[in-house]
């Protein structure tokens, strides 16, 4: 009894209306009628009652006989045979055409009527296509036929027909589009043991469903009980505003460098080849400068070169090494090639520009940037034409290769990668150069996450006037964060599917 009381306290107002009318085998239509609720409300209440173990909802398929197109018409205008007879009661001995016209019957209907009425002896057929009504016919006309009664009673359950109804059904079934049978799903209720007990009780209406402002003011919640909720119930999802998940990670990455005392750099996406390549000691015939790999601008195709001493320094370094102690690349450097505008292929271009603007008194300095860079790639699961690079440089007269490894390992540790290794690599603008790999705990392999190194004297000296150690790195951010979001197809990072963004977990580092 205690349990039953507790159960009663959980009933929703809709359930409270439904429970009193419940009995075994009652169907939804009947409940709807008896309670005066809407069908959806009844269904919701029944669903909840079933969840609480009060009822079981059963379902059967029924064959229901309904009016078809012609049937609906005949219910309003009368069956053709009735109209046929009516015409004959109004005027004697008519031709079939006259009957057809007066009774608004099609030729097909007239033919059916002829057969049917003759069989019942209601008409006689006279010579020259004339017909007349018999006494039997007048009798028939006077009363409602089984068929007419049947049509008026529809819809009916095909499984529960009386013998007369069955006869009419068989008759009408043969005729064109008068009736049809539809399979209809019907839900009905079986009471469980608890349900049987519950249905015998009178439910009190002294339950508070929602606590309202008024109740609080006039205090009349005090003599009532609160309906108990099903606290385990699933609720509809809500979505709040949200930063894009990639940008959440970007903010965290910036935080790491800031925590390590780095200063942020910004700069343009469109750059001249001079800054993107030449200043970074990338020879003018290097394959990266091909149309295949780098985006060039159609208009404005060329930009301006910086001040003369920087341009001359870079030119001489490429050609002969200039004052850098290098042999240079040994070719004739072309100014026009250097003017070509490109979409920056790496954020390292920002580092080059920053170095060129620094004074020795600014040192030591540590800088970072997180920004988009561009490659003329065909897009697939592992390639995009726009990528985000995490760039960092340390310009410090006392910096060395061990510091480079130190900064990088610290960064990756903060990103959640504990096993990091450095391998030899090649970039035109760094020496020594290194590739950074992290150990993938699931795939059990080393995964490459970026490049690093110390800027070559051929880069630093023409820009700063002095060869000072510069540690530098450029890390691919997409690979770095894909793991966290469990994204393996790089395109999914930027597909801007609102469902994906709404449901994506937060960056919790």
């Amino acid at each position: 009894m205690h349990d039953l009381n507790r159960l009663i306290q959980t009933l929703h107002p809709l359930e409270r209306v439904v429970v009193p009318v419940l009995e075994n085998d009652i169907d939804v239509a009947a409940i709807t009628k008896k309670t005066g609720l809407k069908e959806v409300e009844v269904m919701r209440a029944l669903q909840w009652l079933e969840n609480k173990g009060i009822i079981k909802i059963q379902q059967i398929l029924k064959e229901i006989i309904n009016l078809d197109k012609n049937g609906a018409l005949y219910v309003m205008e009368g069956l053709p045979e009735k109209r046929f007879l009516q015409t004959l009661t109004e005027e004697e001995r008519m031709t079939l055409d006259e009957v057809s016209e007066k009774a608004h019957l099609t030729k097909e209907e007239v033919n059916i009527c002829l057969g049917l009425l003759k069989k019942r002896g209601a008409i006689e057929i006279l010579p020259r296509m004339r017909v007349d009504i018999t006494e039997e016919g007048r009798l028939l006309f006077g009363k409602q036929s089984l068929e007419e009664q049947f049509l008026k009673r529809l819809p009916l359950d095909a499984a529960h027909l009386s013998s007369e109804e069955k006869k009419a059904y068989e008759e009408l079934k043969r005729r064109k589009q008068i009736i049809r049978t539809d399979l209809v799903k019907t839900r009905y209720v079986k009471l469980t043991k608890v349900g049987e007990e519950l249905s015998k009780l009178k439910l009190s209406d002294q339950f508070v469903d929602s606590l309202t402002h008024d109740m609080l003011i006039n205090g009349n919640w005090k003599d009532k009980n609160f309906r108990r909720y099903d606290v385990t119930i699933n609720v509809p999802k809500v979505y709040g505003g949200k930063r894009h998940f990639v940008n959440q990670a970007v903010d965290y990455i910036k935080r790491i460098w800031l925590d390590m005392g780095f200063k942020e750099m910004r700069g343009s996406i469109v750059q001249t080849s001079f800054w993107n390549f030449d200043a970074l000691f990338t020879a003018q015939d290097h394959p990266v400068r091909d149309m295949q790999d780098t985006f060039f601008l159609k208009d404005p195709a060329k930009g301006k070169l910086p001040k003369k001493d920087i341009v001359d320094g870079v030119r001489k370094t490429h050609e002969t090494g200039g004052h850098t102690g290098s042999t240079g690349w040994g070719y004739s450097w072309n100014r026009e090639e250097a003017k070509k505008n490109v979409l920056r292929t790496h954020t390292t271009v920002l580092s080059a520009k920053t170095i060129a603007a620094l004074k020795e008194s600014d040192l030591p300095v540590k800088l970072f940037a997180v920004g988009k860079c561009f490659r003329n790639e065909t897009v697939d699961w592992s390639h995009l034409f726009e990528l985000t690079q995490v760039e960092g440089i340390v310009i410090d007269p006392n910096a060395n290769f061990k510091h480079l490894i130190g900064y990088l390992k610290e960064f990756f540790l903060k990103m959640g990668y504990e096993k990091v290794r450095i391998r030899p690599a090649y970039f035109p603008y760094t020496e020594p150069s290194a590739e950074i790999e992290v150990f993938h705990p699931v795939r059990k392999t080393w995964v490459e996450l970026g490049g690093a190194g110390m800027f070559r004297p051929e880069v630093v000296k023409p820009l700063m006037g002095k060869d000072i150690p510069v540690l530098a790195w450029g890390l691919g951010m997409e690979r770095l964060i894909g793991e966290y979001y469990q994204i393996t197809d790089i395109r999914d990072l930027y597909k801007n599917d609102l469902k994906q963004i709404r449901e994506m977990k937060f960056w919790m580092k």
């Binding site: 040994g330 930027y494 963004i501």
Partner: protein
């Protein structure tokens, strides 16, 4: 990055040691290349583009056996004197002025070696030779050639021979349109009045560099023992180095190298020349860069492991190395020999003050305000196409176009942000409404005053879309943002073809227009096949930020 295929047995024989696969992989990784895969007897490795000397089985094995300490120090190669001569006619000076040549004898060619010679040639062509533009390489069976050979240039129709893998004699012009190699490299001779050829003493044409060899004289077979090697191009130094890379590999195959005298009319040059280079290397410099405390002996030991010799503070550099421009390159090789994995990381105690870029902070704050208003941030590409930016939005203006984008849907830099957000809405029609999105991104405009002629600014766009999205709703968002920023603004009715007339306004801050706001025109909505009303604004954050941080006019 280029890869080469090594035959495991040949490689092990060359190295003089067998290593288990995992050790091999590890060692190769720390030599600075990458093991791609091992399949049966084939090992595929990646080689960095600065080491063309490692682009052959022999070159790779040479570097590797030094690195693992098997055969260290400078490898000595010498060319024997011979009477072979190649005369260089001055007619080539305008088309392909230089060549460097050698003869290598006594290689017993088998299928493996033929494959290897083809690989060396191919890999060097693609990388160091910049697709034959900088260096074109020819290797010929010596027995088919009668010295002296001439390197000269003739008019295309005066060049007739049977190119490789064909049965008919063609003129040079025909080869460039008919032969596969001709078609592939025709662009390298484009605009030239004459084409370069190698011709022997019987007036037999050996080849037409950089395009194709003759089928009769330019094909190595199982019967070949001795070969003539030539490199042609524009920089004799580059050619000599490339030649040395090839003949050193051929010598490692068992060949003997012979000199060729090149008669450049005004001067005579003898190739190949294996005289090693020299470069000073100071202990202090090495230790300063690497943060180590190596002694001279250790430095020497590491240099030997990278295939150099070292004496009296100087490194002796093999003549086939193309990557040593500066002592820093030696420092890196010392680091590689020391082992990158042996460096201990260190974070120096250097005091620097962290500083986030102020404008980046501003943008982040704006994003936070919008998130607080229930907005979802999107992240779209800077690249789009002109139709998305203009025609679909019912307007037209000049865009910054790319010259060579592979993907035609992304060949223009965006000039405003709203089109990108409308594309996002278009792709999310099937998801839950209301949809309230924003993005802060860079936009691009032509501006001759800038260094590149392109001005970049950051803009914020916001779009709200649902069954009744309207001006009031978007203005509420805008107003809320500006109240949070504590900035006063003016609203003036304006016209903009992307918006419904009478429902679009220009927002001003201290007299400067900074934003458009309004209801998107149903034609635009139709152009994008959207089915819900959209209200939007686009705000210039670069200008707004500048206005907020400048002193107002009195």
């Amino acid at each position: 990055m280029p890869t080469i295929t090594l035959n495991k047995k040949v490689f092990e024989k060359l190295v003089g040691k067998q290593l288990p696969v995992d050790q091999l992989k590890e060692k190769i990784s720390f030599l600075g290349t990458d093991l791609e895969k091992i399949e049966g007897d084939e090992i595929v490795v990646e080689v960095f583009p600065n080491r063309p000397d490692m682009l052959s089985e022999q070159g790779f094995a040479r570097a590797f056996s030094s690195f693992i300490g098997r055969k260290v120090g400078l490898r000595k190669y010498a060319a024997k004197k011979s009477g072979y001569k190649v005369s260089v006619d001055k007619s080539v000076s305008i088309v392909r002025p230089f060549t460097a040549c050698a003869v290598v004898k006594g290689i017993k060619f088998d299928n493996e070696k033929i494959k290897e010679v083809i690989q060396i040639q191919e890999k060097l062509h693609v990388t160091y030779g910049r697709n034959r533009k900088k260096v074109a390489i020819g290797i010929y069976p010596l027995e088919k050639i009668k010295f002296p050979v001439r390197f000269e240039a003739r008019k295309p129709d005066e060049i007739r021979f049977q190119p490789l893998d064909t049965t008919e004699i063609m003129t040079a012009s025909q080869m460039l349109v008919k032969h596969p190699a001709g078609k592939a490299y025709a662009h390298l001779l484009e605009g030239c009045q004459v084409y370069p050829i190698f011709v022997d003493a019987n007036n037999e044409i050996l080849s037409m560099p950089p395009v194709i060899n003759s089928d009769r004289t330019g094909k190595i077979t199982l019967k070949t023992n001795d070969v003539f090697v030539e490199c042609s191009g524009f920089d004799l130094k580059v050619l000599c180095r490339c030649l040395n890379i090839i003949v050193a590999a051929l010598a490692d195959m068992g060949g003997q190298i012979f000199e060729v005298e090149l008669d450049y009319q005004r001067k005579k040059v003898v190739t190949p020349d294996f005289t090693p280079g020299e470069m000073k290397i100071s202990r202090d410099y090495v230790n300063r860069v690497l943060g180590l405390d190596l002694g001279d002996d250790e430095i020497k030991r590491y240099l030997l492991r990278m295939g150099y010799d070292c004496s009296a503070g100087k490194a002796v550099i093999p003549s086939y190395r193309a990557d040593v421009l500066h002592p820093i390159d030696l420092v890196e090789d010392i680091a590689i020999a020391y082992g990158y994995d042996n460096f201990e990381e260190e974070i120096p105690n250097v005091s620097t003050v962290a500083e986030e870029d102020k404008f980046e902070v501003f943008k982040r704050k704006v994003a936070e305000i919008l998130v607080g208003l229930g907005m979802i941030e999107t992240n779209t590409y800077n690249l789009t196409n002109k139709e998305n930016l203009t025609a679909k939005l019912g307007i037209s203006f000049e865009c910054v176009e790319l010259e060579n984008a592979k993907n035609v849907d992304y060949n223009v830099l965006r000039s405003w942000m709203i089109p990108n957000l409308l594309q996002v809405l278009k792709n999310n029609k099937h998801h839950e409404f209301p949809q309230k999105i924003f993005e802060i991104g860079t936009i691009f405009k032509k501006s001759p005053a800038e260094e590149t002629g392109v001005k970049e600014m950051d803009r914020l766009a916001v779009c709200v879309s649902n069954t009744r999205a309207d001006y009031t709703e978007i203005k509420q968002v805008f107003d809320s943002l500006f109240r949070a920023l504590d900035v006063e603004y003016t609203v003036t009715e304006t016209e903009h073809d992307s918006f419904i007339p009478g429902r679009v306004a220009r927002i001003g801050v201290r007299g400067k227009g900074v934003a458009y706001i309004g209801e998107i025109h149903p034609i635009v909505i139709g152009n994008l096949a959207l089915e819900m009303p959209v209200a939007a604004f686009e705000l210039n954050l670069t200008d707004l930020y500048a206005l907020m941080h400048s002193v107002p006019d009195k």
